[in-house]
């Protein structure tokens, strides 16, 4: 079964409605969401975002990574994938060019 985990530069669950909206969108596949793997309020620094991407790549429950909260998170996942041949696939919601 797929395991989806989210990296967010900003709050995603804590005092924020975005997690509920996202899992609502997953619909019948909401069970794929790995709640415990959430990396939220990571910030925008390359170091913290790379660490979050690395954490999820090391998490055996996670098969797919979703980045939200701006292009910085997407870039971090992109860069990690370029540097690690076995990196997990990622999808992004962003507001700018990667």
């Amino acid at each position: 079964m797929p395991g989806i985990a989210v990296i967010s530069t900003i709050a995603f669950r804590t005092n924020a409605p975005w997690e509920a909206a996202f899992t609502g969108g997953l619909g019948v596949h909401a069970g794929w969401y790995v709640s415990g793997a959430l990396q939220e309020s990571v910030g925008f620094s390359q170091g913290s975002l790379t660490t979050a991407v690395s954490n999820l790549n090391a998490n055996g429950s996670v098969t797919h990574i979703v980045t939200v909260g701006g292009v910085a998170a997407a870039r971090a996942a992109w860069s990690y994938g370029n540097q690690h041949g076995q990196a997990k696939p990622f999808l992004s919601c962003r507001g700018n060019h990667v």
Binding site: I4, A21, F44, H64
Partner: protein, 175 residues
């Protein structure tokens, strides 16, 4: 998927200067300012795309500079300001609203969530007739993202690049 947030300030300017028809304002272009986060790529792109005859670009990277820059805007000759769609501002939504309300000037917000519809005691609401909500509803964007993710993974298909078009501008006339 993309919100194309970097590209919508031109539409917001059209709305604020009266070039777009629906509920348009009539602010002079030179009196419309922009608030960006200088630490983000969105802010850099917004700066590059900002018209040379537009108003000043204010820069805030934390709560202290949100307060000081909106204070500078309040004391300036600018009559309106666009708040960037940068997630940094969304993450500080209530603080931005609070500080923007203090300017007593027109504020254009980039997402519908700035209506802060659930606002109650102690939670700021944008000033009546002093703001515009011009942009998509983020809640819908996150739900749509969930749908796309489920579709891509379950079908094994290559992901598409869907875009969320901005919602029609709303000139808030809230009670």
């Amino acid at each position: 998927m993309t919100l194309e947030s970097f590209g919508h300030n031109a539409d917001r300017l059209d709305h604020l200067t009266g070039k777009s028809a629906a509920h348009a304002h009539n602010f002079p272009l030179a009196q419309i300012a922009l608030l960006i986060n200088p630490d983000s790529s969105v802010g850099a792109d917004e700066s590059l795309r900002w018209p040379s005859d537009g108003g000043h670009i204010y820069q805030a990277r934390d709560k202290t500079t949100i307060q000081s820059e909106l204070g500078n805007f309040a004391g300036s000759n600018h009559t309106a300001i666009i708040i960037s769609a940068d997630p940094f501002f969304t993450d500080n939504l209530e603080y931005v609203i609070q500080q923007a309300n203090g300017t007593s000037k027109h504020v254009c917000y980039s997402f519908q969530e700035y209506a802060n519809a659930s606002a109650g005691a102690g939670h700021p609401h944008p000033t009546h007739n002093k703001h515009t909500l011009h942009g998509p509803k983020l809640l819908d964007a996150y739900q749509q993202l969930g749908q796309v993710v489920a579709s891509v993974i379950s079908s094994g298909a290559a992901p598409l690049q869907p875009k969320l078009e901005p919602a029609p501008p709303i000139v808030a006339n809230d009670p």
